[in-house]
Amino acid sequence: MERIVRAGVSFLKSSYIPHLLFTFLFCLASGGLMSFRNLDERQAAQVMEMYVTFAGILLLTPLFLPEGNREIWQLEKSKEMPMWQLYLPRVLTALVVMAALVSIFPLIMKQGGGTFDYGRLWLGAFVEMLFLGSIGFAVSAITNQTVLGYMLAVIYYAVNMGGGKYLGKFALFQMMKGSYGFIVPMAVSACVLMVGSVLLRER
């Protein structure tokens, strides 16, 4: 257990802090870019889906960053500690930060006089954020290139702005249209992508 925690702290210090700081700045900037006053269900969903879910890319895509250097990856693989134990604290840290963001934003909107179902919005936004981030996570894991992870996740987000109709249950921004049918397929896909990616890195 101690080894797992140590590995997590080391990753945080050496690679992850700039990404956390940037996510924090990204959230701070929302005050100037989004209105949190008197939002109904659709408007609150817009804030969460168009803005907050993007943090999924920022938090999940860079989790394989240290292994971008093949020597480090080879060294890690040669050790007794299984790779999943190395990745577990990284993924958990990202998930905790994501959960915190998805909890804080609806609270701010509620304080601004918002009228929406907090639980439903929380669940929908968390699943979308997880799914979007898992695309970057999986691509980074498969190609061992974080740039490609960012590229495909960002392109997926951009495609949804105009071409969501072609993506069925995997289209983003569905809560804005009052649809929540995406939650189960997206959650399952995100889990498959993330678990599959870690298993792949074990090989």
Partner: protein
């Protein structure tokens, strides 16, 4: 020394996965977006007595008041006001007391209660089929609210200032932003058509639409090409070997930059050429001699500066920061540049991606051509400046200087 390096870079790019993704996304995006619309009706001569000839901008004060009041009624009905406080879109929703204030301002400007205005709006929109491509925009553009008889333009502007005080900065009701559009006459439409045939020679008009869509991709996709190139040495642990080579920093960075530029621009020109082909045929069947080289003129004049700046910024940021974090910084910059676009047609200003999301409006385009030329020249110079900075940073690192997350950093891409 330069050309061998250049060709070697091109070969490396042609083998990279990022480049193939770049090609696939570019082709899919452009073919899907540009195959959607049938613009052939724009390329046929207008006939007298048509139902509509489109719209043009108007400076008529009465029309500006009518159009602005109509917009205010609609946004108040939805309780959703579009604002751009920091030049990004921000939807503002008001509480009951603020809404009551807006309704009071509407009453002062029109002499009618909000309920009366809503009834008039419903009556107007029920006359159009909102589900059709034509009905929705025309019904919106023709909805006007008559101001009170004794309302002067100055009083109207003051009222709009009060509206802005309630909604916040950056709305369409700011006195200096007030505009209106009016229907084009047959003569206007005929003049536009002639300009399209004589000045644009048909293909030019279509190439502007091509540039509009291609520009969006060229603000985003080259980031990944540039970052991948700059991080390749680091991934391969080849930095010291490169630094020790006889080639100057200008030659090393220049060959990399120009190779990326060439490889990224080549598919753009080829797609432009292919997509222009049907319009060559269409022009000839209409008896117009098309501009065969329009694809090249527009690609070079319009798109190349955008590509150069995006790539140069990617180079300078990645070289400076030295890891993949540069990518995410530039992605935000790119989204910001796209979000800054307040008009889909013209008003180029200093926007990185000039928009012209229509086929035609030739006279309006040529009236703004000077503005576009200044814009493109600015970005061309900016790209050269950023490239120069990249060379300086590379040279400094090469000589042993330490940059932020640079040569001596442990961070990895």
């Amino acid at each position: 020394m330069f050309f061998p390096l250049f060709f070697k870079e091109c070969r490396q790019i042609a083998k990279s996965l990022v480049y193939y993704l770049y090609l696939i996304i570019l082709v899919l995006f452009l073919t899907s977006q540009l195959s959607d619309g049938d613009w052939s009706d724009r390329l046929t001569e207008p006939k007298p007595g048509q139902e509509s000839y489109g719209f043009k901008e108007s400076e008529d004060e009465t029309l500006i008041m009518e159009s602005t009041l109509a917009e205010l009624v609609r946004e108040t009905d939805w309780n959703s006001y579009a604002t751009y406080p920091f030049m990004f879109y921000k939807e503002v929703t008001l509480n009951d007391s603020e809404l009551a204030e807006i309704e009071q301002i509407l009453f002062e400007c029109t002499g009618k209660s909000f309920e009366q205005l809503l009834d008039e709006m419903d009556a107007h929109f029920s006359g159009y089929d909102q589900s059709t491509m034509e009905g929705a925009p025309i019904s919106g553009q023709t909805f006007l609210v008559e101001p009170a008889e004794d309302l002067t333009f100055e009083e109207f502007q003051n009222a709009m200032k009060r509206v802005c005080g309630i909604i916040g900065k950056g709305s369409a009701f700011e006195p200096e932003k007030l505009t209106a559009s009016e229907p084009k006459t047959y003569e206007d439409a005929l003049e536009d058509y002639r300009a399209l045939c004589e000045k644009d020679k048909v293909t030019g008009a279509y190439m502007r639409l091509f540039c509009d869509y291609a520009g969006i991709m060229l603000v985003i996709l080259p980031i990944f090409l540039g970052a991948t190139r700059c991080l390749r040495d680091k991934r391969a642990d080849a930095q010291q070997v490169i630094y020790a080579r006889a080639a100057s920093s200008l030659q090393v960075v220049g060959s990399r930059y120009l190779a990326n530029l060439f490889m990224a621009f080549l598919p753009v020109v080829l797609i432009a050429f292919l997509l222009q082909s049907p319009y060559l045929y269409l022009a000839r069947t209409n008896g117009v001699a098309p501009d065969v080289l329009a694809f090249l003129k527009y690609s070079v004049g319009w798109l190349l500066p955008t590509l150069m700046v995006t790539l140069a910024l990617s180079f300078v940021l990645t070289e400076l920061i030295g890891n993949v974090f540069a990518v995410i910084l530039q992605v935000f910059w790119s989204f910001a540049c796209i979000a800054l676009e307040t008009s889909l047609v013209g008003e180029f200003g200093f926007h990185l991606e000039p928009r012209w999301n229509t086929v035609g409006n030739t006279q309006s385009f040529f009236a703004q051509l000077g503005q576009l030329a200044i814009n493109r020249l600015f970005y061309l110079l900016l790209a050269i400046l950023l490239f120069g900075l990249t060379v300086l940073i590379f040279d400094r690192k090469r000589k042993g200087g330490v940059f932020w997350h640079g040569k001596n950093s442990k961070s990895r891409g």
